[in-house]
């Protein structure tokens, strides 16, 4: 693989890990968040994405486990499962292992289902959880972690540092947690966040963005509208639901901060996952400039609609004007722009 292609791949890894770190820092893992983004964070989508990206940074991964011991009660495990299944994002074995590990720490039964569902039927091959070592080499551990081993993943026994803090409910990024504190962990809380941070929408669109069943979202919206908490008007053949944002901001947001921006986290991480997987499955000893360019063009075409649908402004060049290997430089420039947008938004 060419030097420029290898560098872009490392830059992509560093950029995405940094992006994920920044989000978790705002949620309360130990570390300083430089992110000043005024957007909300979707915890389930972030956890699913971390199950894949976090395998390249063991410190980040273990800090997230630490965070879950303190804040895991806020996670909607049904939604976590549904998002991973529908979006083909994240690593099911890793999520299963995390859930199994959480079962020992959370008295509720909510992690059991996801732990059971992601357990491989037959004992298969074992691989290293962390992908920092060269492929093919298996690190040796004094004591492997049984929870992860059951999912075919080898790692040293987990020892959390107990440094994670409870979610800062006054940070505007954490509005989904605050809403869950008020409405309970479920559709109603997340629908209210969507309505508060946007101009509203119709049931199918909201259900799709949040990863819930359309009919159940419709029921919640109808109930809230009937009770006069939200408003509804006909919009063609659908019904548009919205909320008195200023009024609800006094309830769900701190008085000193503005209402956060809604980010479509699911399409964002779907798009990033497509590019990440395409980049990291490149066999660097067998590729040349053309293969890298061709595979990345394919990946960007597959990811483009999702990235644009994230509601973060990304510049993605139309590749039609770039013939063959010419596209690689354009792709690298676009990826840099995307990572910059994620870190500075």
């Amino acid at each position: 693989m060419t030097v420029s292609a290898m560098k872009f791949r490392n830059d992509l890894k560093e950029g995405l890990i940094d992006f994920v770190w920044q989000q978790w820092c705002r949620l309360g893992i130990s570390g300083t968040s430089l992110a000043k983004a005024s957007w909300m964070i979707d915890p389930e989508v972030l956890l699913v994405f971390t199950s894949e990206i976090g395998r390249y940074d063991s410190r980040l991964f273990d800090q997230v486990l630490d965070w879950l011991t303190v804040n895991g009660s806020w996670i909607n495990t049904q939604r976590l499962s549904a998002i991973m299944r529908r979006d083909n994002t994240g690593c099911p074995a890793v999520i299963g292992a995390i859930a199994a590990w959480m079962c020992d720490r959370d008295k509720s039964t909510k992690w059991r289902g996801i732990a059971r569902r992601n357990l491989a039927g037959e004992p298969g091959s074992v691989e290293s959880l962390f992908r920092t070592a060269r492929i093919g080499t298996m690190p040796v551990f004094d004591r492997t972690d049984r929870h992860f081993e059951a999912y075919g993943l080898q790692r040293e026994e987990v020892h959390t540092r107990d440094m994670a803090k409870p979610v800062n409910m006054n940070d505007l990024a954490n509005i989904m947690f605050k809403s869950r504190a008020l409405f309970g962990i479920g559709i109603r809380a997340d629908v209210m966040v969507y309505l508060l941070t946007t101009k509203g929408g119709h049931a199918r669109c909201i259900a799709e963005l949040l990863g819930y069943n359309h009919m159940r979202v419709q029921e919640v919206l109808t109930g809230l509208a009937d009770a006069g908490f939200i408003f509804v008007r006909a919009a063609g053949r659908t019904k548009h639901y919205w909320i008195d944002r200023q009024r609800w901001a006094t309830v769900l947001c701190s008085e000193k901060v503005p209402i956060p921006h809604w980010v479509n986290w699911r399409p964002l991480t779907r798009g990033l996952t497509v590019i990440w997987r395409a980049a990291w499955t490149l066999d660097e000893e067998r590729t040349d400039e053309y293969i890298v360019s061709s595979k990345m063009r394919e990946a960007m075409r597959a990811a483009r609609d999702d990235l644009h649908g994230s509601s973060i402004a990304f510049e993605i060049t139309d590749d039609k004007s770039c013939v063959a290997e010419e596209y690689l430089a354009v792709f690298v420039r676009d990826i840099r722009g995307i990572l910059e947008s994620l870190s500075t938004a």
Binding site: D283, T287, Y290, I291, S294, R297, E298, K320, V323, A324
Partner: protein, 204 residues
């Protein structure tokens, strides 16, 4: 985009070969005719939009065997489409447009011995049809009233076939039961090429 120079056709096939090799595709061998073969073999130069696959072939110890019952595999077509997107070509820039020719008419006598073999990595081998066989296929294509005019133009302006080549092509086409209408079309092509003596040999 269209292919304007032989190097561009070669470049597209090389990239297709690279992709197939990278993706561990099963090796495939193809017979290619039409404008792309004319260009690559330096028989005639003209722009062309696609690469015409006459047939898939098996390379055996006993030589190359035409497999006109086989179509391009799905995985192969996906790679063709990817290369098309990379180069700004149609997604089916390499296609089996003329596949029925061999099924209906059979190959011209000795065609398999005259093929020009080009390797594009371990997974893609291309056999380009020779000049003589191109004349066969072009006379047939030009005789088709629904065909585009470039077939006759290729013959008249670019290939400029010799009398023996046209005679061989006519014999190939007439070596079966034919309609008077079809014979009339072939006569028209042969006369346009200026070989009235051959035309006179074709029965009305």
């Amino acid at each position: 985009m269209t292919f304007e120079r032989p190097e561009q056709i070669d470049g597209a096939l090389q990239r297709l070969g690279k992709r197939l090799t990278y993706d561990y595709a099963d090796p495939i061998a193809l017979v290619i005719c039409g404008g792309s073969a004319l260009n690559v073999l330096n028989i005639a130069y003209r722009t062309t939009k696609d690469v015409d696959v006459l047939a898939v072939v098996d390379e055996t110890e006993n030589g190359v065997k035409l497999r006109h019952d086989r179509v391009l595999p799905e995985f192969f077509r996906r790679n063709v489409a990817s290369v098309g997107r990379d180069l700004g070509l149609d997604e089916d820039w390499l296609n089996m447009g003329p596949k029925d020719v061999i099924a209906v008419y059979g190959p011209p006598k000795g065609m398999m011995d005259r093929l020009n073999r080009h390797e594009y990595g371990p997974c893609l081998t291309v056999y380009f049809v020779s000049r003589l066989d191109q004349v066969h296929f072009k006379v047939l294509a030009a005789a088709d009233p629904k065909a585009q005019p470039h077939h006759l133009e290729d013959l008249v302006e670019r290939i400029k076939p010799l009398e023996d080549e046209v005679r061989a092509a006519v014999n190939w086409l007439m070596n079966r039961e034919t309609s008077s209408w079809f014979r009339g079309r072939v006569k028209y092509v042969v006369e346009t090429l200026g070989y009235d003596s051959i035309s006179n040999e074709i029965q009305e």
